[in-house]
């Protein structure tokens, strides 16, 4: 039989081109990923590795989806918020009831949210995990609103999500102020979203690993060399099961692992600023949130800034010490608009110094390139990730470092296309690692393709950098509001 056009039908999971692609091809490729990973009310991070809805993934995905379908972007956040607990906690996974338990570990029968979390306010359905992830959601909701204010108003989007997002932040600022210093603590390495970061090594060493009574599903589709070790996994399981045994009650749980993470808290500041915008927009009290953002910014610097190292550190609340680790989370406070100028200067110096300069990708490695724990392929111990690059790019723009922001934006877009929208990238070789067709990689590349300045603009290094002081979101979002 002769070959016809029919034989060349393009399958849904066709890998994106490996060569550098033009922006039209990139947009098409990113849209394919997001349309292909959509499940009807939300998006899976990856068809192969992550078959449910993840909290901070969904926030980043919504930021990209808003360019593809504002309605889907709103639904993405709404479906996540449907899993919110009565205590305000937004769980890090909302499980898809149609997916068999064996497809992912820990599955609903491990977390047992509807039963073990009942007293803490877990919903009867859907099943969720009991821990949280970084609060990117308010920022995402505001950006989704800005993408189409008329559609947002028509669906009553802000009015519906604002109370839930406020409750989420209230949970973090009350139940999770475990150190009494006014910052939110994480109680599990999965909570700051950087599961096996060396920042947790010392705190995790206090945890007795769970016996080998669980079966990891992540290794079915992931290369063991790219994933956390079995020993780490045993400790993750131990921490989670202890939390579950305490009914996910933060006041009762004896937290062996409790840290204030700079990335997590920086996103909380940005989220509070977004809530301020939303509240103002709805004629409510935005000043309360703006005040909280300013206060959080002060505490962030007071409690987590390491002036000698020029980077933010996590604070271990069990030992009440700053963790001696230089990682990407320490750069993420760049997204905070009200950061003191000297801190911003030091952070940008650190970003471009030997610890994070990775010419093979132009992205930012997750771990100190010069440190003893650096591992170029293992998850959050070295690989460069696209969501952190997106946040750093946003931070650079927030503080007027437009030229540096542009180079990072170009790198993010190029690497996303070149690697087939990889989950993460080896910063030494530029090789894509982890899952491909990864949703937030596609979403954030799409976002920068839509909202970023044109990368072919002449370099603006000589141009004066505008000072942006005080709390407030960057100019681009003000423009989005006025559209």
């Amino acid at each position: 039989m002769k070959t016809t056009l029919l034989d060349r039908q393009i399958p849904l999971d066709r890998p994106a081109p490996a060569a550098p692609a033009d922006h039209l091809t990139l947009r098409r490729g990113a849209a394919r990923v997001l349309l292909g990973n959509w499940t009807g009310a939300s998006t899976v991070p990856s068809r192969t590795l992550y078959p449910h809805q993840w909290s901070w993934d969904s926030a980043f995905i919504a930021i990209g989806l808003r360019h593809l379908s504002v309605r889907r972007a709103q639904q993405e956040l709404e479906s996540l918020l449907a899993g919110q607990w009565a205590d305000g906690r937004l769980p890090h996974i909302v499980f898809n009831p149609d997916v068999p338990y064996g497809a992912y570990f820990p599955s609903p029968d491990f977390w047992q949210s509807s039963r073990a979390g009942h007293a803490a306010g877990a919903p009867a359905a859907p099943e969720t995990s009991g821990i949280v992830q970084p609060p990117v959601h308010a920022l995402a909701a505001w950006l989704v609103h800005c993408a189409d204010p008329a559609e947002s108003a028509r669906r009553g989007f802000l009015a519906r999500v604002l109370p839930r997002l406020t409750a989420w932040h209230d949970y973090l600022l009350t139940h999770r102020d475990l150190g009494g210093g006014g910052l939110a603590a994480v109680v599990h390495p999965w909570e700051p979203g950087m599961d096996n970061s060396p920042a947790w090594d010392r705190a995790l060493a206090r945890v007795e690993p769970a016996a080998d009574t669980f079966r990891r599903a992540d290794l079915d589709h992931g290369d063991p060399a790219d994933r956390p070790t079995d020993l780490d996994y045993g400790r993750y399981v131990r921490l989670a099961s202890a939390y579950r045994a305490a009914g996910y009650d933060d006041r009762v749980t004896d937290h062996r692992f409790a840290l204030e993470d700079p990335g997590f808290n920086a996103l909380l500041v940005t989220g509070e600023l977004a809530l301020a915008r939303m509240a103002d927009h709805l004629g409510q009290d935005g000043a309360r949130h703006a005040g909280r953002a300013a206060e959080l910014t002060r505490r962030l610097v007071d409690r987590l800034w390491d002036d000698d190292a020029g980077i933010f550190r996590a604070r271990d609340l069990v030992e009440d010490t700053l963790v001696d680790h230089t990682g990407i989370a320490g750069l993420l406070p760049l997204v905070v608009p009200g950061l003191p100028a000297d801190v911003v200067g030091a952070l940008t110096d650190t970003l471009d110094g030997p610890h994070f300069r990775a010419p093979a990708t132009g992205l930012v490695p997750s771990n100190d390139l010069t440190g003893p724990t650096f591992d170029a392929t293992r998850y959050w111990r070295g690989p460069a990730w696209f969501n952190t690059a997106w946040l750093v790019e946003r931070g650079l723009r927030t503080h007027g470092r437009d030229a540096r922001a542009r180079s990072l934006r170009e790198a993010l877009v190029a690497e996303a296309g070149r690697t087939g929208f990889a989950e993460y990238v080896d910063p030494l070789t530029g090789e894509g690692r982890g899952a491909r067709q990864f949703s937030w990689t596609a979403a954030l590349a799409l976002d920068l393709l839509h909202t970023g300045h044109e990368p072919d603009l002449p370099p603006a290094d000589h141009a004066p950098e505008p000072a942006l002081t005080g709390p407030g979101l960057p100019l681009t979002d003000q423009e989005e509001l006025s559209r």
């Binding site: 849209a31 349309l35 959509w38 379908s69 309605r71």
Partner: protein
């Protein structure tokens, strides 16, 4: 930006030239013709040729009859094939790309009494493959494409979804047959219209647009951004042809569509 077209009966004006004037001012890139039976479309050849000379862009024709290639009645079925072949020939002669037809329309619905059609599924398939092959081979000889349009379950009982059309087209082995998608029918039949477009990317040849309520885009509640993004994602380079009923002032309704589609990501 995807190109737009509008079916001729939706345009004011007595001639194609007058209709084209209106269409251009409203922002359309082309007119989609309608092909009536009794070889009426062929009888318009002089009119169509003159319109083409006058610059009217007419890439496609959509059949406008009450019997089709999947008709139960053998005489009607044979006539439908004669009509469609003629329409393919005419659209080729005026430099167009193809003609669109459903398997049937208004003949039978499994959702309405008496629920069971007089012909078995196997017989339906045999009839459709025979008709499609005959028309597809004719289209290939003419250098144009036959677009098979899935209709919703209330209008046709044989080809409702893109996967059903794709299956038939693959079975013919002809690349001169493609799916002619319609946003209104897809909204009823596809669980995820955007995903269906991606899944059948290589087989989609034409696209017609109307909203969830069969009125002009913008009058209903379709997620146009997702649908249009999917067409962009597969590199679709055909027209979005307006085939709908109109609500509100008819001329204003027709005029509103190109701008609405553009705002929605076309």
């Amino acid at each position: 930006m995807l190109k737009t077209a509008v079916q001729e009966q939706l345009l004011p004006g007595d001639t194609l030239q007058a209709k084209w004037e209106f269409a251009q001012q409203a922002g359309y890139d082309a007119i989609e013709l309608r092909g009536k039976g009794d070889l009426h479309f062929a009888s318009r050849l002089d009119e169509l040729k003159q319109a083409r000379k006058d610059g009217v862009v007419m890439p496609t024709v959509c059949v406008d009859m009450l019997h089709f290639l999947g008709a139960f009645d053998e005489d009607l079925r044979r006539d439908a094939l004669v009509q469609m072949k003629s329409q393919l020939t005419v659209i080729a002669e005026i430099g167009g790309t193809g003609a669109q037809t459903p398997a049937s329309y208004g003949m039978f619905s499994r959702r309405l009494p008496p629920f069971e059609p007089p012909r078995s599924e196997a017989e339906d398939r045999e009839i459709l493959l025979a008709g499609l092959t005959e028309l597809g081979e004719h289209a290939r000889r003419e250098g144009v494409t036959l677009f098979l349009e899935p209709l919703n379950r209330y209008e046709d009982h044989m080809v409702n979804r893109l996967d059903q059309a794709a299956d038939l087209i693959r079975a013919t082995g002809l690349d001169s047959i493609r799916i002619g998608i319609d946003s209104y029918h897809m909204n009823i039949e596809e669980s995820d219209p955007a995903a269906a477009i991606l899944a059948h990317a290589g087989l989609i040849g034409h696209a017609q647009v109307s909203d969830s309520n069969r009125f002009q885009p913008g009058a209903g509640h379709l997620d146009w951004r997702a649908w249009l993004t999917a067409l962009h994602a597969i590199g679709y380079d055909g027209h979005l042809a307006l085939e709908c009923r109109l609500t509100g002032d008819p001329e204003e309704a027709v005029r509103s569509v190109p701008a609405f589609l553009k705002r929605s990501g076309a």
